[in-house]
Symmetry: C2
Subunit: 349 residues, 2 copies
């Protein structure tokens, strides 16, 4: 695995572009800093996109779907067949992320990285299936090395399609019944955290269900002791196909210089794995929202990430990132279109 693509260099940024963007912000007709995080976003996008007029017009959203063997432990409020039913809903345009992408004019693609249902050639779905769902992480490794590489590759390809399409920004979404369990296990391993602290209700477990889920995760961590300092091995032992695909996408985005807007709990766990794999990936990640899944805050803290939104979302699919897209667009418009003090003939404070 040592010579694989995911060890390639991460793109570096030009500090002069950032300097120019900051200088431009200071000339716009507003008290300095009064647009708060909208200024910060514009400067950040300008720097990452290496252009004086940043843009968030062309958004490429990829939702990665997969199933999880650990679902058999009863760790989700929904039955496993929902993953595949939701694939259909994405394609037909009825899911939250479908509606949001339509509303935002964003392009949406769906990648099956390994759902259980056997229908391997669904129209409108990229088939990058690494298996029929992962193994149950309570009792065995989630996937083989080949499956891990296949999943990372599925993420890489999605980002390459986004780059080819001229996207300004990449969003990765997740769909997978029970996937807060592997995501929490992965985060616990990488953060060396107690599952009791990070485990939450996911799509709607009751308190007893959360306790049981934490025990399942504790067993998985016990089984995989020592993977915490090997992010890719942690992904293989504890993760999921869609989580690995997200990590692969984030790594590839950082290699190719395509900024990524990270969604909620699942994608942030994938981002953590990507950043632990190569810390330079972190510069390319923007964080969209704080999920109501309780463990999200701990992962964000470890990544020193301050998401833009806090709306008690906990859906996944990339929906929280989609909700933040209009803020990025407004930040770009303000940066690109506001008059300067000189242009408007306004006295500076």
């Amino acid at each position: 695995m040592i010579s694989a693509w995911f060890f390639d260099n991460i793109r570096s940024v030009d500090p002069y572009v950032e300097e120019r963007a900051l200088k431009h912000q200071a000339q716009l007709t507003k008290p300095p800093g009064s647009l708060g995080r909208l200024e910060e976003i514009a400067v950040r996008l300008s720097t990452l996109q290496d252009r004086d007029r940043p843009s968030a017009d062309k958004i490429h959203v990829t939702v990665f779907a997969a199933d999880h063997g650990v679902a058999q432990e009863g760790v989700s409020a929904f039955p496993q067949e929902v993953t595949s039913q939701m694939l259909e809903n994405f394609v037909r345009g009825g899911a939250a992320i479908s509606v949001m992408c339509r509303s935002l004019g964003a392009s949406l693609e769906i990648v099956d990285v390994g759902t259980v249902a056997g229908d391997t050639d669904r129209p409108g779905v990229h088939n990058r299936r690494a298996g029929e769902g992962t193994a149950n992480i309570r009792i065995r490794d989630a996937m083989s090395e080949a499956q891990l590489e296949g999943s990372l590759q599925a993420g890489r390809e999605a980002v390459e399609r986004a780059v080819d399409a001229g996207a300004d920004l990449f969003i990765g979404g997740d769909m997978g019944i029970a996937n807060t369990t592997p995501a929490t296990a992965l985060a616990c391993a990488l953060l060396k955290a107690d599952p009791k602290v990070l485990t939450g209700p996911g799509t709607g477990l009751n308190p007893a269900g959360v306790l049981h889920k934490a025990e399942v995760i504790r067993d998985a961590l016990h089984r995989c002791a020592g993977v915490g300092d090997q992010p890719l091995e942690a992904l293989r032992c504890l993760g999921g196909f869609e989580i690995a695909a997200l990590a692969g996408a984030f790594i590839r985005g950082a290699q190719l210089g395509l900024p990524v807007l990270v969604d909620g709990f699942i994608t942030t766990a994938a981002a953590l794995a990507a950043v632990r794999h190569d810390p330079a990936v972190g510069s390319w990640l923007l964080f969209s929202h704080r999920s109501s899944e309780p463990g999200h805050g701990e992962i964000l803290k470890a990544l020193k990430a301050e998401p833009l939104l806090d709306l008690s979302l906990r859906l996944g699919e990339g929906s929280g990132a989609a909700a933040a897209v209009p803020l990025l667009r407004l930040a770009c418009s303000l940066h690109n279109e506001m008059a300067t003090f000189a242009e408007a003939g306004i006295s500076e404070g």
Copy 2:
């Protein structure tokens, strides 16, 4: 004043519309509650707009501009002529709110409620001037009764234009150098709060400047002792023309059944006056963002308001409300366009 329009009844809402909206949300293809505040917004707009398909497409933004006699106390980081210079900037499309309205496809109108500069007939600006700026509230009442009524009326008329244009939502913005001083004084009077607690840097005072500003406000409150239980009288003694216009707009919105999206510090102080004038106004107000002006949190708490955004904005002009508009639009799209479990043939949890 007793028989004036602003004592008319506030529109009441139909509880059955809310019930239907909640029921509809529960059928959409997502775990219940997983869209968090986006669900809440959709249900709220559906209820207030009295329709099953809520909308935030047509947005009417009015920026009220005025000057403040208290500027002569040196309570702002910017000189007073900036108010009028910014009026020009609004009209020419170079200000933050101009850019945002263009980006959102929202209609923007500017009302001069009493700036100092004498040019009374600027193209593109509604002339509803109640005077050449208010008096210096440190030493005398901000305005006469007639000026108060004129300012409230300016707000009323803006909302009536919005209703006539078929707006789904009204946003009021403010422009007025030094206007955090009257807004803070007004809030202190209505909340019976210490100016030391509520006073902040506005557009950029240093700590000594903030201390001085708090003393000016303390003097004004001392002069107007006892107005705290008379919201309109507090507006007259301590407020500003644009603050009174915003209060008038909010009252009229609530009377005519047009939901209002409240911006930041200045507009929330105006909203507080409107709600103290008639508590029923509160149902018609949605709160967009938490300003970085420190006193904002106290006023929001008194109004039991939880704004949607917290982006360290402190510009005014309605810019924070504009930033929240896309969230309202996404909330409506999700409510109106997502598939139900039955439509999508998906197993419920």
